[in-house]
């Protein structure tokens, strides 16, 4: 393995250039260095004007998602050494507006996320004196996988449907809605149903499956969406057959 590797980094400086350009840097490539280490080396030692988001360096915060050689990746979990002799091409996450260099604008996702109420909704809170809402390990297991989502948005960058139809509520928001729908402490499924069963909700998904493939936390958003399609379809049939049961 060579001592250094070439990184081609996307630059967008709206005050200088209306288009994306690429700058090339030669960075050290020790075995333990990830793409984010390379970017931090550029920022600290070569070119301080480079902008990118990062925080935890350990796959928890979900800030450092970028496109690495065409694939959406967490740059803190993508080793430079895996790209052989390089070059490693780093671009901003696809399907989001770029505001500067590798930084994308994600308020569209933030709006969609809150619209599905990703928190425990109760019809009535029980008094504190009655203690916690208890759950069995099996009940925890039912939604645990979906709760691993770190909002890194790799799934949105991988989803061609979101790229073509920005109204689509998207993989992570639906997976997180399912995370709470399947939580025994939650009573908000009916409220989420209205948002999820819209055209821009689950029915926007045509099961490309890329969201699940790129998810660094094995959340399986595609599975969550297909499961909810079945739930929504059964709800519709139920509402038709026994209309008085409608909420």
């Amino acid at each position: 393995m060579s001592d250094t590797i070439k990184m081609q980094v996307a630059r967008y400086r709206p005050e200088e250039n209306a288009e994306l350009t690429f700058d090339e840097y030669e960075v050290p490539c020790p075995r333990e260095w990830v793409v984010l280490d390379g970017l931090n080396h550029i920022k600290d030692e070569i070119d301080g004007t480079l902008s990118f988001r990062w925080s935890c360096r350990m796959g928890i915060c979900g800030s450092c998602g970028m496109t690495v050689n065409g694939e959406p990746k967490l740059t803190c979990a993508t080793f430079l050494g895996d790209y052989g002799s390089g070059p490693v091409r780093v671009e901003p996450l696809a399907n989001f507006p770029v505001v500067r260099d590798l930084v994308v604008e994600i308020s569209d996702f933030m709006r969609k996320l809150t619209s599905v109420k990703p928190w425990i909704v109760r019809d009535e809170e029980k008094p504190l004196s009655e203690g916690e809402y208890l759950q069995t390990p099996a009940e925890l297991e039912a939604y645990k996988q979906y709760s691993m989502c770190i909002n890194c948005l790799l799934c949105y960058a991988a989803c061609p449907i979101y790229g073509l139809e920005p109204e689509f509520i998207g993989p992570a928001a639906i997976a997180l809605a399912q995370r709470y729908n399947m939580d025994t402490r939650d009573e908000g499924a009916a409220e989420r149903h209205d948002i999820l069963s819209e055209h821009a909700g689950i029915w926007g998904c045509t099961f490309v499956g890329e969201c699940t493939r790129v998810c660094p936390k094995h959340v399986d958003p595609a599975g969550a969406i297909q499961r909810y399609k079945l739930t929504a379809a059964l709800e519709t049939v139920k509402a038709f057959v026994v209309p008085w049961s409608a909420k």
Partner: protein
């Protein structure tokens, strides 16, 4: 661009690269996805073909003979062979999706995805064999 995606005072300028019309040609996975979407056209064709068959049978022996003759035309044959390929592909993707949509639990444990899909394939084989027996040997 919809109003909900409007720029804000914090981001007065931004770049929105547009997806190429031919995005689905760049990756094999995307291409197979588009082919699966295209397969729905051939599913619709088979539905139409079946309705034409039912109509011909309903109209009597002469109409049925005409339908068979039309079905034997090389163009119709080629269309049907291509359609069969696409519909089979459609069915396979459909059965592979089953374990994603249905999480089956038996005795408190989730049934492995392979078994969920496998039972669908088994049902497919049984129904096909029953139909073949009915049409060919029964």
């Amino acid at each position: 661009m919809s109003e909900r995606r409007a720029r804000t005072e914090h981001h007065p300028r931004w770049l929105r690269p547009r997806m190429s019309t031919y995005w689905w040609l760049r990756r094999r996975r995307h291409l197979t996805f588009i082919l699966r979407e295209l397969s729905s056209v051939f599913v619709a064709w088979f539905v139409l073909y079946l309705l034409l068959l039912v109509r011909a049978v309903n109209e009597g022996a002469a109409a049925y003979a005409r339908f068979l003759e039309w079905s034997g035309h090389p163009v119709v044959l080629v269309v049907n062979v291509v359609a069969l390929g696409f519909v089979t592909y459609h069915a396979i993707t459909w059965f592979n999706l089953a374990p994603k949509a249905m999480v089956v639990r038996l005795g408190g444990r989730p049934v492995p995805a392979v078994l969920v899909a496998g039972s669908n394939y088994a049902a497919w084989a049984v129904v096909s064999a029953a139909l073949a027996w009915l049409l060919l040997g029964g």
